[in-house]
Subunit: 346 residues, 2 copies
DNA sequence: GTGAAAGCGCTAACAA
DNA sequence: TTGTTAGCGCTTTCAC
């Protein structure tokens, strides 16, 4: 059991002062070569490492970043974490994670836990419940205390800070356009309820694409799915809706899912109906995760570049922390998405 | 912009001493009711929160746990993080994450970054490369400095500490038994190379189950797949192997995949061959993730209870940190798995 | 009932 | 070239 080394112990052991040790370890030329070498050798031997906590207290910064996400099991957020972690480490920061589980209260508690010294700033994607309550006081309070926040993906106008987003509307528009280029006109959109801004924006993009192509948007072709449904229920809702459309003599020739689960569920009901993808129907989904790659046919998806988002968010935060950016001009960075064509479209 | 409050500022503002403020905020009866109330009101108004860093330095503990995982995008580890985070928060700890990306070097760097004061202890799942190199000096050094480590899932005898594992051998044996109970005898095992201990253990379980049922194990029914292959390659390897078996007149009636990807890939080649699951072949997979639920048919899987693993690991670590356990007796806790029957078996 | 002082580990300005 | 001191924010012992 090696004891933990401190400057004090080294100083005592070598019979010099603490500050001499401190200087010697920084290779300060003001310390005689001899003393320096002696101290360095000793420190090395005992594997001395400066205590981060003491440094943090002294420097008033911890070199750690608080990352608050709504859901860790979600593939997209896992990607973001991966990117954030990677970018942070490169710049000498570590990442602490708080999972809000889509709950307002957990989001607040998590951030409160970290705000008092544990982190230098936050990177956050807002919980659904918070979005619903529209209560952003915790974020604004932290900002008003001078601690920077970078919002990503789920952002909100009410909080003034840097933001990193994917252009959901534009991406959805592009995806829809792809479908239209495939000569599809009756495109069923599987989306979320409107209070989820992501879903709302994607719906807008879908509508814009239709409009630009002089295709009439029909309300029955937009299915808003309750997001707390599990995969069974999702599929049932989708199945029921598609059957209703079919029974009404309404033919659909494409499906655009606002996430992978919806799209795969759709794929499953299509198979039951003995229809072929992409021959009879094209399918496109948002979020390029595992499901898209392992489904049959493999799904054409909009890749949201979670890793890039994480990297951008962390770098933006660190730039702000290290004052590499204009004090009070906030900006919003848009990460481009791209369509990964696989087997569910032409 | 509210300034950050400290004891010192409060003391100055209220013209009392720092220690009086400190005591008053702890509701110490040695401070007169009047002073106490005045201070508490002031602190509340200015939203005073003690500085964690200062507390950490003073108390020599940070109430944060370092969680080192090989891969964050992996569903199982995401579950573990979720559990760890949850358990930690309940006991007043926060979790900082280090992702090794299966690399030895990143594992070492990450841990070094955290070991000097940032965390009180570690929960780690060892990277594949580390396992391959069999170099555990970083872990043992940390332990010898008196900082506790809990290993989970990927554990190793060379490190003396508490361990949390799922009984891979036993679980694989049970899964295989299920197949045998379904009257399957020619069970193709899709597993990893032997240096991955997880895969190795599961292979053992498979073999034991066969033996106990007097079924001869045939080497051509064990396919060891290179783990750095992507999903395309995996599927090709699996497909080629199955075709070879078939061409050789070898009939297989069940497939046991050591992870979801292998099992889903198998499902896909089975579909190509126009065989029916579970009528013609039963399929079981390890790790109960998203793929299993969205595949058709839905996969029967061995649920590894990632969340429980995370919870158990964190609680074990905290117990050790708070000295609720015997100083130098380490134990290994086995988390039971269970088989979730879905549509790919009878 | 209140406050001064020491100390957690470190840095840096200053003194010797 | 080396050492002393103050201070980061907090707790706690001890003195007043």
């Amino acid at each position: 059991m090696k004891p933990k080394m401190t400057l004090k112990k080294i100083a005592k052991e070598l019979d010099v002062s603490i500050s001499t040790v401190s200087k010697a370890l920084k290779d300060d030329k003001n310390v005689s070569q001899e003393t320096r070498e002696k101290i360095q050798a000793f420190a090395k031997f005992y594997n001395y490492r400066p205590n981060n906590i003491a440094l943090s207290l002294k420097n008033q910064r911890t070199k750690t970043i608080g990352l608050i996400i709504p859901d860790i099991v979600h593939h997209f957020f896992a990607k973001v974490i991966a990117g954030a972690e990677q970018a942070a480490n490169i710049r000498g920061y570590i990442v602490v994670i708080g999972v809000s589980n889509e709950s307002f209260e957990k989001e607040v508690i998590n951030m409160e836990m970290m705000v008092n010294g544990s982190v230098d700033g936050f990177v956050v994607s807002i919980a659904k419940e918070t979005l619903l309550l529209q209560d952003y006081h915790h974020l604004n309070e932290i900002i008003s205390q001078g601690m920077p926040i970078v919002l990503f993906d789920r952002v909100v106008d009410e909080v003034e800070c840097d933001k990193i987003v994917v252009d959901d509307k534009e991406s959805a528009k592009n995806a829809t356009q792809q479908l239209i280029d495939d000569k599809r006109e009756n495109i069923l959109l599987l989306t979320t309820l409107d209070h989820i801004n992501i879903g709302r924006e994607r719906t807008k993009g879908y509508l814009e694409a239709l409009q630009q192509n002089q295709i009439e948007a029909r309300p029955e072709l937009i299915l808003k799915i309750q997001d707390n449904a599990n995969e069974e229920e999702q599929e049932k809702v989708i199945e029921a809706h598609i059957n209703r459309l079919m029974d009404g003599g309404m033919s659909i020739d494409a499906i655009f899912g606002v996430n992978e689960m919806y799209a795969v569920a759709a794929l499953n009901v299509i198979r039951k109906l003995d229809l072929k993808v992409p021959e009879d129907l094209s399918v496109i989904s948002f979020s390029n995760g595992v499901l898209s790659k392992y489904s049959r046919p493999k799904l054409t998806t909009v890749d949201q570049h979670g890793v890039d988002l994480g990297i951008a968010a962390v770098n933006t935060l660190i730039d702000r922390l290290e004052e590499k950016v204009d004090e009070d001009a906030f900006f919003t960075k848009v990460i481009k998405t791209n369509l990964i064509k696989r087997e569910s479209t032409f």
